[in-house]
Symmetry: C2
Subunit: 238 residues, 2 copies
């Protein structure tokens, strides 16, 4: 995991990320060689979106106010729409959504467990950080799919996210209780490793491990820069 | 609560309810006199749909198979869409969704707590039974709103439900483990009282309590008949 050490200290004005700034700012890196077969990709991506939705569902159920519940429900709805869009893509090919998702289950369930967080605030950071990173990543990987599929999958994935709603809730929570900041900053940092591991597991491996990692590294560098901007937007050090 | 004793034993072939059969089979009863102000109704209905969604979210998170997760996600998505549609109606009038939902919170949270169920199967029955009953009820109450609002709210509420997906999951679970049947039948019966109480709390009260109850009773009789058909569809005695 040498990309962990390569994180560039980047100074960017705190702002809510728009997806175009994260992907266009650097030379595009082609992940096509490491892109899995369409059905494998769809199974993993569909199960991941379902998991991101579950995490938001739990955060909504435990939210400390009706205001928080209401504003987070949009994000949950968007993740669920992505899951359902991907599930419909799986069904197009006549296969069972459950069967195609099954191989992804164990590792994503483990990821969900270890990133759960100790309380509501940490769980909300998990939703913000992991969904931000992984949805960006899925969009990048989808570019390597066969052309027709790539277009359809991008139309599902490269759409609105609830990120700004999550950022607003988190910023308000930190403002109300500034002592949260250092704990949530630490939690945000701890999430990065597991998030990158699960992202890596979505790609295939060629015989040449070194060349694989060289291909993936610049993508992770970009995604980590986006992560840093996301934490900056909360006033937290990434 | 004398409507509890009035449940008619109705023999109907087990089938998945379609909403039209539940509302057209009996003379329409007008609840308009007991219909709350629009914003009160919207607050209660929006918070209730959010709660139904939360229940489904928990059921999805704890589902024993990816197949169950996937098939239940459609139902969750439909509840969430209803919540968001109602929230948008609240925002039309320039008020805060959270503020309008707040008065409904305590009683609906209590309802959620007492209807949670002891395990995954009971929780799934809760989703099936309470959403079925309460969404039918909301549709009926919405008819008493001012005409324009009634039309808009009906367009949000009187739409698809995930009921058939829930029924399929439950029927499969009972088939796989027939000993579940008596426990789930009992749980289904126990849910009815709390579900009717929360429904009743959505209506106003006039000075004449006896006449209020006389007005509500035939509506509950209809909704209980629909509940019986819902349990029949699982092969369970209501």
């Amino acid at each position: 995991m040498n990309w962990l050490g390569r994180r560039r200290p980047r100074v960017v004005a705190p702002r809510i990320r728009s997806r175009s700034t994260t992907t266009d700012s650097t030379t595009k890196v082609d992940l096509a060689d490491l892109t899995p077969e369409l059905d494998v990709f769809l199974g993993k991506a569909a199960y991941l979106e379902l998991t991101l939705f579950e995490n938001l569902g739990r955060v909504i159920a435990n939210a400390p106010s009706t205001a928080a519940k209401s504003s987070l429900s949009r994000a949950a709805s968007l993740s669920l729409e992505k899951h359902r869009g991907l599930a419909a893509e799986i069904e197009r090919s006549g296969t069972s959504v459950a069967a195609v998702m099954e191989p992804a289950r164990a590792s994503i369930d483990r990821f969900q467990r270890v990133t759960q967080g100790a309380d509501w605030f940490e769980s909300l950071v998990t939703c913000y950080v992991t969904a931000g990173f992984l949805e960006d990543f899925l969009v990048r990987v989808a570019e390597g799919l066969p052309r027709d599929a790539a277009a359809r999958v991008s139309a599902i994935l490269d759409t609105e996210t609830g990120e700004s709603d999550l950022a607003r809730e988190l910023a308000a929570a930190i403002q109300a209780n500034p002592r949260l900041a250092s704990r949530l900053a630490l939690w945000g940092r701890r999430l990065v490793g597991d998030t990158m591991l699960i992202a890596r597991s979505m790609l295939t491996q060629s015989a040449n491990h070194v060349s694989d990692e060289a291909r993936i590294e610049p993508v992770f560098t970009e995604l980590i820069a986006a992560h840093t901007r996301r934490m900056d937007a909360l006033g937290l050090t990434a």
